[in-house]
Amino acid sequence: MRRSGRWVWMATVAVAMGVCAIGTVPQVARGDDNSYVLTFKDNKIEPAELQVPAGVEFKLVVKNADQSPEEFESSDLKIEKVIAGGSEVELTIKPLDPGSYEVVGEFHEDTAKGQIVAK
């Protein structure tokens, strides 16, 4: 009894360690690369649909490749940020629930529309 109890305990630890390892490895491997880019170009958002992982914090780099300033806005993500022409900003996005989040360029709302899809 006692012996098998110890085995069960060790197996549990091993499984737990395995789970931890599986859980952490992809994030460690990504490191600083866990960032995604949206670009304003010709008053449009590229890509119009950006895929990001759900449930993981990530960096969102928003570039404004146009000459004129743009206001990056997303009521879904609670972001409102002016980006000067020819510059970029970096935003920290807290883990998202799976789903789609709308983003717009407020100064060119007719054309600058896109969404971030968390999977």
């Binding site: 000459q67 004129s68 300033p69 743009e70 206001e71 009521s75 879904d76 993500l77 609670k78 972001i79 409102e80 940020k81 002016v82 980006i83 000067a84 022409g85 510059s87 900003v89 970096e90 935003l91 920290t92 807290k94 407020e106 100064f107 709302e109 007719d110």
Partner: protein
């Protein structure tokens, strides 16, 4: 005329115009208010140009969160000024209303914190105006539409915003004098609560505050805060279709603090009020 530029400028100046309208109504019968409010608008426009001109520098300041910090600072400064005004009005508003009907206004005018309202107007115009300036600058810096068309659209949007500000002012002027300050004080408290919620939103965006739940509820199906009515309510009562937890916390806390201070200090037999009542 470019309709989209008119709409964008209108949306940007709407909030500032509403603030000016309410502040003007809330300072009815006080000598020198035109000067303070007018001065606030002029300073605000200059501030807006300065913020727009320094947009690039602000953007990269404070490790990339300069804009959020500036917005939050402006908003919380305005909240402080509005709160101070409400508390002051709670103590003296009744007397001003009484004096107004007695045509002997001079007694209370000297001590009125008009500078607080002037500063609020300046801050609101600077913050909202800077986006309108950036937008119009973008047009001037070269775009597909003829610049003159867009400029006309911009002026139309500005006029539209001013008209809404005037409408709320003249609407409030229809309220009988003895209720006017009670109404404007509560409107200003709601205005302040909305600004506090917005300020908290910026600090959460900068990752300096937790969101406490990114989205507590979503009423954008009923009224989007991108619609004009949603935008108006956003300014007047702090309406947000998808509020975060931290926003709700700041909203209710501001409402409770300024509201209870105004109420406590404004009670007829409050120990804090006798000086004004004697006058």
């Amino acid at each position: 005329m470019d309709p989209s530029s008119a709409l964008i400028v209108f949306r940007e100046v709407l909030e500032a115009a509403l603030v000016v309208g309410i502040v003007m109504a809330g300072s009815k019968g006080v000598a020198g208010r035109g000067l303070w409010v007018g001065g606030g608008i002029v300073a605000g426009v200059l501030g807006a140009c300065a913020v727009a001109a320094g947009a690039g520098a602000i953007q990269s300041a404070a490790a990339g969160v300069g804009q959020e910090l500036l917005n939050a600072t402006i908003l919380f400064a305005a909240v402080g000024m509005l709160g101070w005004h409400c508390v002051w009005m709670g103590r003296h508003g009744r007397d001003i209303a009484r004096h107004m009907s007695q045509v002997s206004r001079a007694v209370v005018q000297g001590s009125r914190p008009l500078y607080a309202l002037g500063v609020v107007v300046g801050l609101a115009v600077a913050r909202e105006g800077s986006e309108a300036v950036l937008f119009l600058y973008g047009i001037a810096a070269g775009s597909d539409s003829p610049a003159l068309d867009l400029l006309r659209g911009g002026l139309l949007g500005l006029a539209g915003g001013a008209a809404v500000g005037a409408a709320i002012y003249f609407g409030l002027m229809r309220i009988p004098a003895r209720y006017l300050f009670a109404v404007t004080t509560w409107m200003i408290i709601l205005l302040a609560a909305g600004m506090a919620s917005q300020g908290a939103g910026f600090l959460a965006q900068a990752d300096l505050l937790p969101t406490l739940g990114r989205r507590l509820w979503d009423t954008s199906g009923i009224l989007s805060d991108r619609a004009i009515l949603g935008k108006v309510l956003h300014t007047l009562v702090g309406y947000d279709a998808k509020p975060s937890g931290i926003q709700l916390l700041f909203y209710t806390t501001t409402l409770l603090i300024i509201g209870s201070l105004t109420w406590i200090l404004g009670r007829p037999n409050s120990p804090a009020a006798p000086a004004a009542r004697a006058a």
